[in-house]
Symmetry: C2
Subunit: 312 residues, 2 copies
DNA sequence: CGTTCTTACGTGTGTCGTAACGATC
DNA sequence: GATCGTTACGACACACGTAAGAACG
């Protein structure tokens, strides 16, 4: 068995079972990749691909199983290379961060700024996606770190560190009655059209559950994945927004009124996730540190409780 | 990076940094192994070994880190080969079981007997060790499955399945006063010299803690790792034995009296451990099944509670 | 002086690329 | 007929083994 054979296996799977495209990606010619697959199947004594004629159609059961471990193997070699780069003293490399829009837009900027100062030679990549997608990207080693609030529990291969806790706030055009009335209750919220996140994003599940538990049905007239979109339509007067508190920017959002809602909803914990077994380079660990520091600083301004030391 | 380079790295470490002996084990000549190490160090740009002159003395920090992942990589390739063997239909191979003496002597025999009938072409190896050693052997992939009650919690890389619960019983020469008096209490036990397991074995910690918690100090006059040894000295009249109940054999031990002590001590859970990430071959999973079935059968004869479904 | 690792060199294996062939939509 | 995979073949690379040299106890 050779590493190149495993690389070809994975490349073919990720190229939707096109050997030619896999070969391109690997900077090889197509017969070479074909040979790798053949050699693997011969050594293992089993077909890894189901075929339709000559064309590859999918993985056999054996193929699925092999794939899992092939990924582990190559992840291991990547870790080994990373150790090397860490010890050559070059603080250079690539840091691939997976984040939702809310994280990338409102939470990450100060973190990124500090990180860039410390590691100017590290190329930063921010890849966006739904929490679900981020989790998958992380286990597939397409991002180094993922930052999100949801969907991480289902992947035992991921280690997750709690980074900060947050809750929601209400935003509305200045002068809106909900900004004046005291106190705000779940019932009051239901009297107005609401704009918030779509399901699967930024604590939407807990949001909905909170109302459901007391038998209320909020009138969500619009939901979006991005806080920006929510703000936009709040400004247009389509309804009141319920957003993650860290996403409110006092300066840019001075035209909007804001009220804290942490007495109404459960606190959410945003976590940093990465592949449990992989080697984290120095600057990757440092990024996590900076993130936590900035998160703590942010928490000082709010009433957020400390993150629990809980397990991943 | 090539797999052979990683193999050489590991072999050299496991040969106490002798390149020649590593080469022997790998069925290579010594310059070949030297070259592998050199290539690895060159590719990573770091020394992996600390040297005294030409001789290798130990691993550098980078070397230690690389070693961890190199093991993962080769464990992955082993899993891939195992998938292949599972799918070629040959139910042959090797099953390496790590067990303490108590397990190997009193619990495993019926399991092994059934397993051998089902898989006559699988070679069985029973490797003995302390629970601590067994855990290490498992993470190093020197055994496939380890069966023990202790020391597994400290290794996050291990998956553990609860298999059966057991408690202790008292053994003494027939006619011994402790066999007659009713009921047996911790206090009564302290009146007699006791023979039981050494620390780190077969629930010795819980044994000692139980007494300590009520301020009693049992007079342990002899401790051993093997139940056989304990029985021997009980027969010689050196004291009463406190052993794992499954280790009492009504037929062979007819010359000894026995009393259940499960009302005095906490129940222990024996677990089956294996490397979390590795692929378990069919017959390996089947062995676990058989083990659990036999454990259940054994539990029917005792008052043992069902194993909890708890996590690994 | 034996042991152990390094360096040097030749041979043979095997990997990849080119090219021609076959199948499938 | 264009696309995609397989087969055939040759050139180049390189991994291993042999053999000789250098450091260490």
């Amino acid at each position: 068995m050779e590493l190149r054979q495993l690389r070809s296996l994975i490349a073919v799977v990720e190229a939707d079972f096109s050997v030619s495209r896999a070969a391109e990606r690997l900077h090889l010619v197509q017969p070479a990749v074909s040979q790798h697959l053949k050699q693997l199947e011969e050594e293992l004594g089993t077909l890894l691909f189901s075929r339709q004629g000559k064309r590859l159609a999918g993985l056999t059961e054996a193929g699925e199983r092999v794939l899992v471990h092939a990924r582990r193997v190559l992840s291991g070699t990547a870790s080994i290379l990373a150790v090397g780069q860490d010890h050559t003293g070059h603080d250079s490399g690539v840091l691939r961060i997976g984040a939702t829009h809310t994280q990338a837009r409102y939470v990450l900027p100060p973190v990124i700024r500090r990180f860039r100062e410390e590691y100017p030679r590290v190329e930063l990549q921010i890849l966006q996606g739904t929490p679900q997608q981020l989790a998958v990207m992380t286990v597939r080693d397409q991002v180094d770190l993922a930052i999100c609030t949801e969907a991480l529990h289902d992947y035992p291969g991921l280690a997750t560190l709690p980074s900060y806790r947050w809750n929601r706030c209400l935003i509305a055009p200045l002068g809106h009655p909900l900004l004046e009335v005291s106190p705000v209750t779940l019932g009051r919220l239901c009297e107005y059209p609401i704009i918030t996140y779509v399901a699967g994003f930024t604590g939407r599940r807990q949001f909905s559950d909170t109302f459901a538990r007391v038998g209320l049905r909020p009138r969500v007239v619009l939901s979006a994945t991005d806080t920006d979109i929510i703000k936009t339509y709040v400004r247009e007067g389509m309804g009141v927004g319920i957003i993650a508190a860290p996403a409110f920017e006092p300066v840019n959002d001075a035209d909007l009124g804001r009220r804290d809602l942490s007495h109404l909803f459960p606190w959410e914990t945003t976590r940093i996730a990465y592949l449990r077994e992989r080697y984290l380079r120095r600057f990757q660990e440092r990024f996590i540190e900076i993130f936590k520091e900035e998160a703590d600083r942010m928490a000082l301004g709010s009433r957020a409780p400390r993150v629990p030391p809980g397990p991943g």
